[in-house]
Homo-oligomer: 271 residues x 4
């Protein structure tokens, strides 16, 4: 029984290290994991450069095996240390962890494992694990709250943008036509989005004077209406900044006092 | 007479469903109409892609007929159910509804109906019907009010932009000349708009050192003055946010109190 | 003497019409002048399009003569009606008025008047006369005041931008070199400005991996620091909006009260 | 001893002129240094233009020698006049001053001094000396404080941007592939940054419909989230503007009063 207790303790210890970040070991694990994920992303990137892959194939192969083994150990530890392993295995991160680890093993069995390599890119999604760490940075909270608050307005704005781009894209398709690169309405709508958002690749560009006139209107429109999302988020952040104080009045329980207020704005009692 | 009453009832019911959105059936109709309009837009888009049209011509043709018949039924019902049919027929939406429905029928009579197909793109304008639905979303109201309030300022701003672009475009025409792509003043003005709005297609680009220097000035100018519309709309939205409270003081009828105010800012009486 | 009086009256009347905008005739003159200037600008533009000029040369020539004669009459009237004619003649607008009118007359004397035609583009500067009219639009005042107030900050900002572009342009010149289009430092600085301001023509683009990495840094930098001019102007406009009330307290002469204030923020006396 | 005193005085005088900017001579020195640095930067720029260098090689060479000698004198004076010369020599500016002066001398000894010329570009870093002068401009202080305050939030924002670009770049690499210019993941990530920041060079552009759809999403995303840094900096500058008053209450020592406040917001005592 003592042995079993020890085993439970050991499991609990691992759980604390892997799943939590309160202890020193837990934080160290998070940092190591972060480095491993970043290293694995860089590996996937470097492998995609053909000239680099040709030169350092062996180095990349060995590094890939080291990362794969590390991820395998992590995956096994995660299954062992959790109380309900299946909940983890079939969770979003569980599936990603498996899919991003397995391709290298399958390459031993299968000869043509080229397509499986693409799965390794799924490791990128593990980066969200790192993003979770940003919770600890207060700054991202304010940002998130501001975005949350202006979500509905931004959605309406994007909807308007898309409608305008469909209308203007169709118009440009009829004016410029296939001979000037506006080969279809979807392609013209794509061009309208490229133009309205002020990206302007230049792979498609209006050639007729009328087309250039309408393009000018789209550009000035895009240049002007960028003010709208900015205005929305700005005022939301400004509101958040003003209402940052989390103090609650002792007398009347009113909230959202100004940061350096000394008297309750609701009942006038002194803090 | 009873029969007539019934008929009137029936007409009124349809009117309620088609023209209003208060009843459950009215809302359902709006949703179905929205889907039909979106489907018709997607059809017009897909038909414009030549490779797609060649492959799935029959499917597109049949779908087009279904949409056309649905729109025809809607058009007839709109005429029947309204008290003054001619007012609808000659209204903006009445004309668009007709023009966006009729091309398919005309294609039966006329052999060369290619040009008529372009009319179908008018269906896109029906999308404004959908936009009317956004009224129900509170978020778009704030946006609209902010835009309404800053309309005059934005117009003045756009006027300035156009004047600056005409001046700088002419200057670039004289510096760069036709051999570097600045073939005429309108084209140079078009280039100036492309540059000032930070779109930058790159189909026309200055080649001479002096031209590149002036282009740099235009770009920094454009990069800097984007702040102006943003500032205008931001402060309007901020004002709207501050004055959001619609409460009216019981004592002095003052309006525009701060959202969480407890005392009237005008007469000091408690709410 | 009566005759002289009449003449003086006549001159005064013209002065009132041409130089002021308080009377009905004065406003009418301003509107006609505005149309004439816009027409003359459009003429200069159309003449610069070679295909258009070849087709409608006679029409353009006659229109040009009409505009030139109208401008000549205006010029003469301006000299006659003003008390100190030389002050007008050697003023900024006096010189522009002369230079933008004279080329057509000189084309009669000189055979090769091609280069003189360029002077006609100076008419564009007359557009500032129109801009003066925007004074009557209240909206542009707020804008101008906001720009005036943030002038120093924007100058410092532009200075920083230019320094950063010189540094990064030189760096890119050393990394990419002439073979990738970065043929000289000024050209590289030009590219850095194109990139930082998010214009991105694409006529010059980094080819080496290191160059692309630094380009990415420049782009993210440019994307981020656009917030600075926006923030400056936004907060200036917001301040202007808050302090819009022009009321002065009767008791203590304090100014800049909030728009809907009922009590002086300075001495507390009721308005 | 008197002689020594004189020498010390002389050194002190030079120290005051070179290292400080309080006296008239100190300010004059700063202005001359600023002109010399700007001239040296322009020289480096002009030399990099091959056609210009071929024409005016002698002029550039002589100017270069003049600048080099001036900088040498400044360098020696700086060493002489400071009490701890080695502290200056091994400081950031000391090393830059040496490296930006020495290449011309080395060109006398070495025949192939082409690569040394690149060191002269280090002079650009001396521009930071000029930037230090902007301290005297109040406007840049507000800007700096606003940036300082929003540093953490902007860092988090840039981190998010990079993660999003890596994810979307990898996605585009898998969709478009090497045949459409997305030859490797790093290159695709570079493209994603070019697109998201609305730069849009156009050297790489999506060709497949799916690629263009995702590109559209990236562009609208980039167009929308530019609001975030703007909002952050805007609200920081707005806060700074509101809290600009540096008055401290005599009664309770509270700070950050509104610019035109007459009563302490903390204890209500009159200023």
């Amino acid at each position: 029984m003592k042995n079993e207790n020890k085993k439970a303790d050991w499991k609990e210890k691992i759980h604390e290290i892997i799943y939590e970040a309160d202890t020193k070991e837990g934080k160290l694990f998070d940092v190591i994991l972060l480095i491993a994920i970043l290293a694995s992303i860089i590996l996937v990137m470097l492998e995609s450069i053909k000239s680099f892959d040709a030169k350092y194939h062996n180095f990349l192969n060995i590094s890939e095996w080291i990362i794969t083994i590390l991820f395998s150990i992590e995956y096994i530890l995660r299954i062992i240390s959790i109380k309900k392993p299946f909940k983890y295995i079939f969770s979003f991160y569980g599936i990603i962890d498996l899919l991003s680890t397995i391709p290298k093993y399958l390459s031993l069995i299968l000869l043509n494992s080229h397509h499986l390599a693409a799965f390794r890119a799924l490791r990128l999604l593990r980066v969200f694990r790192i993003l979770k760490l940003t919770r600890y940075i207060g700054a991202s909270n304010t940002l998130m709250k501001a975005l949350q608050a202006s979500k509905a307005k931004i959605a309406v704005f994007i909807f308007f943008i898309v409608i305008i781009c469909i209308l203007l894209g169709t118009l440009m398709y009829m004016i410029e036509g296939a001979e000037n690169g506006f080969t279809s309405i979807p392609r013209s709508v794509y061009w309208a989005i490229v133009t309205l958002t002020t990206v302007g690749f230049g792979d498609i560009a209006p050639q007729t004077p009328l087309g250039q006139l309408i393009a000018s209107v789209i550009m000035i429109l895009g240049y002007g209406i960028i003010a709208i999302p900015t205005g929305i988020v700005s005022s939301e952040i400004a509101k958040k900044n003003i209402d940052l104080n989390t103090h609650t009045c002792n007398t009347c329980a009113a909230e959202k006092h100004k940061e350096n207020a000394s008297f309750c704005h609701n009942c006038g009692s002194k803090f």
